[in-house]
C-alpha cells in the first residue's frame, strides 16, 4: 500500500513530476555522455602514448627508471628469456630497445639526437613507423643504415643517401662514435621527436653504444591489456629485483596519469554540477509536495499512522523520481553513447592539429562502459537518498496539530 500511495502521490501533479524526472534524465544523459567522451579521449591518449613510448609493460634495469642512462641497461640474457618463455601464452610480442642521447653532425653542424636502436619489424608492429616514412625506407633488422626525423634532417640539411655522424657516450663511459648512411626520413607530429629522432637497427645501435646484448627497455605487449598487473607481478617474481624491474605503463608515464587524473577531476566536477542542479530540482519538487500536503500528513499522523511509515512514503516518492530519471536517462543515453562509439567524433581544423601535435589521432570514440552508467546512477541515487532523508527528517518533525490546521 505504501508503494501504491507513493506512486499515486507522484502523479497528483503529473506535469511537475515529469519535469523533475526529465531534469534527472538530462543530467544523467549529459554526465554519461561527458564521461564516456572523456574516457574515450583518455583511452585514445593512453593507446597512443603506450604505443609510441612505453608499451604496456617494460622490463628495465632496476635503476634505469630513476637514472635513465646507458650505464643502467639490462642484459638480455637467460634470466629474462626464461621469464618471457614462461609467460609466452600471455605475451603477444616483445619490443627491445636501446636508447641514449648523442650529438648528430653533418659537417660543422651538430644537433642533439635521441638515438634508438630497434628491431624494425617489431617496432613497426607497435607503432607503425613505416607509415610515417616520408622519404626512403625503414631499414631491415640486419641493415646498417639509419632513419632520422624530418625535423632533424632539415636542421642538419641531410637527405636520404647522406652520411650521418653520431658522437656520444656509450656503456660505462666508452666513447660512442659512428657513421651511418641515411636510409630514410620519418615524420612525427610531436616537434621534439621530429627534431631529435635517430633510429638504428638494434645490433648497430648496441655496437655504437658499445653495449652488446644490452637493452635500455624491453617492451612487452600482453594479449590481455586489461589485466597487466598480474603479468607484471609474475614476471617480477621470476627476475632478480636487484637487477631487474618490471613496470606497468602507469608507472612509466606519471605525466600522462597526472593529466588523466586532472581530466577525471574536471569531468567529475562538471558531472557533479549537473547533479547538484538536478538535486535542487528534485528538492524543490519534493519540498513543494511536502508543504502542499502538510494538512494531509497531519491527518494521517492523527489517525495513528506512524511517523516512520509516513516518512517511508516520502522517501519512496523521492526515490521513485530518482529511479524514473535514472532509468529514462540510461535508456536515452545508451543509444547516444553507442552511436558515438560506432561513429566517433572527428576533430578537424585547428583542434585536430592541436591534438595531432601530441601524436594522438583526432578521432574520439565514446566508451560504452556499464561502469560509467553505474557510477552516474549511483551518484544521482545518492543525491536522491540525501533529499529523501531531508524529507524524512521534516516528516519526523511535523507538529500534528499545526499540520491539521494548515490549509
Amino acid at each position: 500500500m505504501l508503494l501504491i500511495l507513493a506512486w499515486r502521490n507522484l502523479w497528483r501533479n503529473s506535469r511537475r513530476t515529469l519535469i523533475t524526472v526529465s531534469s534527472v534524465l538530462f543530467a544523467f544523459m549529459l554526465a554519461t555522455a561527458l564521461i564516456s567522451f572523456a574516457r574515450g579521449f583518455q583511452q585514445q591518449m593512453i593507446e597512443t602514448m603506450v604505443r609510441q613510448e612505453t608499451g604496456y609493460l617494460q622490463i628495465q634495469d632496476a635503476q634505469y627508471f630513476d637514472q635513465p642512462s646507458l650505464d643502467h641497461t639490462l642484459e638480455y640474457g637467460d634470466e629474462v628469456r626464461q621469464a618471457l618463455e614462461a609467460h609466452q601464452d600471455e605475451i603477444e610480442y616483445t619490443v627491445p630497445r636501446i636508447q641514449g642521447f648523442s650529438l648528430a653532425a653533418k659537417g660543422m653542424s651538430t644537433r642533439p639526437a635521441l638515438v634508438t636502436g630497434i628491431l624494425p619489424q617489431r617496432e613497426d608492429k607497435l607503432r607503425k613507423l613505416s607509415a610515417n616514412m616520408v622519404e626512403g625506407e625503414l631499414f631491415s633488422d640486419r641493415d646498417e643504415s639509419a632513419v632520422i626525423g624530418e625535423g632533424l634532417a632539415g636542421l642538419l640539411g641531410l637527405s636520404v643517401g647522406d652520411t650521418l655522424i653520431l658522437i656520444g657516450q656509450g656503456y660505462q663511459a666508452m666513447t660512442a662514435t659512428g657513421k651511418f648512411r641515411i636510409g630514410g626520413i620519418i615524420s612525427f607530429a610531436i616537434p621534439e621527436r621530429n627534431n631529435t629522432a635517430v633510429y638504428l637497427p638494434l645490433e648497430r645501435a648496441q655496437w655504437y653504444f658499445v653495449a652488446e646484448n644490452r637493452l635500455t627497455n624491453l617492451i612487452i605487449m600482453p594479449k590481455d591489456t586489461e589485466h597487466i598487473g598480474p603479468l607484471a607481478n609474475d614476471l617480477q617474481s621470476m627476475l632478480d629485483r636487484e637487477w631487474y624491474s618490471v613496470a606497468v605503463w602507469e608507472e612509466l608515464m606519471p605525466d600522462v596519469m597526472g593529466i588523466i587524473q586532472m581530466q577525471d577531476t574536471v569531468y567529475t566536477g562538471i558531472a557533479w554540477v549537473f547533479y547538484i542542479i538536478v538535486g535542487f530540482g528534485i528538492f524543490g519538487t519534493v519540498l513543494t509536495m511536502f508543504y502542499e500536503r502538510m494538512q494531509e500528513f497531519g491527518i494521517l499522523l492523527s489517525v495513528g499512522m506512524k511517523r516512520r511509515l509516513l516518512s517511508a512514503v516520502g522517501m519512496l516518492e523521492t526515490i521513485m523520481i530518482g529511479i524514473m530519471g535514472i532509468v529514462a536517462g540510461a535508456l536515452v543515453s545508451l543509444p547516444i553513447v553507442y552511436l558515438f562509439q560506432r561513429f566517433p567524433i572527428r576533430f578537424s581544423g585547428e583542434m585536430a592539429n592541436y591534438v595531432l601535435q601530441f601524436g594522438v589521432e583526432p578521432i574520439f570514440p565514446f566508451i560504452l562502459d556499464a561502469q560509467i552508467f553505474l557510477t552516474q546512477a549511483v551518484s544521482i541515487f545518492s543525491i536522491t537518498l540525501f533529499i529523501g532523508v531531508i524529507t524524512t527528517i521534516k516528516i519526523m518533525r511535523i507538529n500534528i496539530q499545526e499540520a491539521v490546521r494548515n490549509e
Binding site: 500500500m1 500511495l5 499515486r8 502521490n9 502523479w11 497528483r12 494538512q295 494531509e296 491527518i299 494521517l300 499522523l301 492523527s302 489517525v303 495513528g304 499512522m305 506512524k306 511517523r307 511509515l309 500534528i400 496539530q401 491539521v404 490549509e407
Partner: protein, 231 residues
C-alpha cells in the same frame, strides 16, 4: 454503562504566546459507552483543544485523561500513535480523505495500519460504505465525490476499525443542510448499531439537536453538562 473516557482536573495552558492562554481549565468529565455527545461553545472556548487532548494529539498541562484504565497524558508519542490507531476514530471538518486513494481504499486505510487481514479489511470497508450509502462509489476517488459523500467516507473510515470512541471536530461545518442531516442520520444510526461513543465539537444547531448529551464550554471551563432524554 462502562466509562470510556474520564478526565480529571484537565487543564491546558499555551505559553508560547505573548500572554499565557488558559485553553482548558480544570475539566473533569466522564463519557460512557455509546454516548452521543456534543461539545459546544463559542469560538475560542476550548472545544478543539479538548478534543485534541482527549484524542492524544495534545498533552494537558495538568490533569489526567484516562482511557481503558490508562492515563494517556503520560504516554510517549510512539505509544500514542498506537493508542490512537487502536482506540480512536477521527472525523475532521474538511473531510481529509487521502486524495489518491479510492473510497474503499480510504476506508480500509486505518485497518491496513492495524494490519488486519486483507479479506476482513475489504469486507468491513464494503460494509461501512454500504452503511453510509456509498456502495456504488467504492472505487471513486475523493475528487469525484461531493462534500457530503466525502464526509460520509470519512465517517466510514473512522468507524470501520471499530474504535472505542470517535472524535469529530465540526464534521458538518462544510456541508449543506441536506448533506448535514444525511450525515447526522448515518452517525446516529451507527452510534446505535455499533454502540460506538461519539463526541462532536460543534456550533451547528443541527448536531446539537441530535445529541443526547450537550457539554457547553465557556473560556475553557465546563459551563453546562446536560443529558437529554431522546426517548
Amino acid at each position: 454503562m462502562q466509562t470510556v473516557i474520564k478526565t480529571e482536573g484537565l487543564s491546558k495552558t499555551y505559553t508560547n504566546t505573548a500572554v499565557p492562554v488558559h485553553a482548558l481549565k480544570d475539566i473533569s468529565l466522564e463519557f460512557k459507552e455509546g454516548e452521543f455527545t456534543a461539545i459546544v461553545g463559542p469560538s475560542g472556548s476550548g472545544k478543539t483543544t479538548f478534543l485534541n487532548v482527549i484524542g492524544g494529539l495534545d498533552k494537558p498541562t495538568k490533569g489526567k485523561v484516562v482511557i481503558d484504565d490508562v492515563d494517556i497524558a503520560t504516554m510517549k508519542e510512539s505509544q500514542l500513535f498506537d493508542f490512537r490507531l487502536r482506540h480512536i476514530g477521527f472525523v475532521f471538518q474538511a473531510y481529509n480523505l487521502i486524495p489518491v486513494l479510492t473510497a474503499i481504499e480510504n476506508v480500509s486505510f486505518i485497518m491496513l495500519l492495524q494490519k488486519k487481514p486483507k479479506k476482513e479489511m475489504e469486507a468491513r470497508a464494503r460494509e461501512m460504505l454500504e452503511q453510509v450509502g456509498l456502495s456504488d462509489k467504492l472505487h471513486e476517488r475523493p475528487s469525484r465525490l461531493s462534500g457530503g459523500q466525502q464526509q460520509r467516507v470519512a465517517v466510514a473510515r473512522a468507524l470501520a476499525s471499530k474504535p472505542d470512541f470517535v472524535l469529530a471536530d465540526e464534521p458538518t461545518a462544510n456541508l449543506d443542510t441536506k448533506s448535514a442531516f444525511n450525515l447526522l442520520d448515518i452517525m446516529a444510526r451507527l452510534n446505535k448499531e455499533e454502540n460506538i461513543t461519539l463526541i462532536f465539537s460543534t456550533h451547528d444547531q443541527r448536531v446539537i439537536d441530535r445529541a443526547r448529551r450537550v457539554i457547553t464550554l465557556v473560556d475553557g471551563a465546563v459551563d453546562k453538562d446536560e443529558h437529554i432524554d431522546k426517548d
